[in-house]
């Protein structure tokens, strides 16, 4: 297995397993729901635009995603005090609950990944990954 295969195998395995876990828990959410919930949870005074930038998606897509999640009762929005164009997004209590359950599932899955590996190995993995990523960002500035 070469580098590319390793990287994609890991990413795909993660995606598959987390999808399975989410389905098993019947949370009724798709990949973008997941990413969006996390984005909002980790972003104080979150706006649609912040999500657009964070997830790198089209703003039309995000607008519809947010509408969907508002309809589902996972989010709340209220006008910003500082900029009347902006809508501040936050998790409702049910949204918070779902997001926390997601965090739990992700932690469990991460434990599966890590099982049988030493702390040194994990640090090493992280260190090497970061180095590779740094390589790429450098190269794209050339």
């Amino acid at each position: 297995m070469n580098l590319r295969e390793n990287i994609f195998a890991l990413a795909q395995a993660y995606r598959m397993h987390i999808k399975e876990a989410v389905n098993a828990n019947e949370l009724g959410l798709n990949g973008m729901h997941v990413r969006c919930l996390h984005a909002i949870a980790n972003c104080p005074q979150c706006t649609a635009n912040a999500i657009v930038n964070q997830l790198g998606r089209d703003k039309a897509q995000i607008a519809r995603l947010i509408k969907d999640m508002l309809d589902k009762g996972w989010l709340e929005k209220h006008a910003s005090e500082f900029d009347k164009r902006s809508q501040i997004l936050s998790l409702s209590s049910s949204g918070k609950q779902i997001q926390q359950q997601l965090v739990k599932l992700e932690k469990q899955l991460e434990q599966s990944f890590k099982s049988g590996l030493t702390t040194q190995e994990l640090d090493e993995f992280s260190r090497i990954s970061s180095k590779m990523l740094a390589n790429l960002t450098e190269h794209s500035w050339e």
Copy 2:
């Protein structure tokens, strides 16, 4: 950056960079084209069904993908001698050329990933990745 973030950052970086390189070379192909070209190149006596299994996609999707690539002149197909239901797929000369250019671009990108890393580090990365993947396949059999 945690494990999940590392994995996805690597995968996304790879995807982005290869897409950029493919676009820069104006090969006019999308992600599925790329995967399909490689699949056919690496599969002797390749059939549509083999691609379905290898890529894990719906057979309708693959049928249309192949039709598209035949129309573009990248593939050739001829009936199997052994099973009249099967169509053996192969790369045409232009398909071969494109696929080889892809291989070249991927090699270059892989070099970017690896730059500044020692052979030991790369081996270590590969070893740890494999261990993680093994963890997951075990767990899904429980």
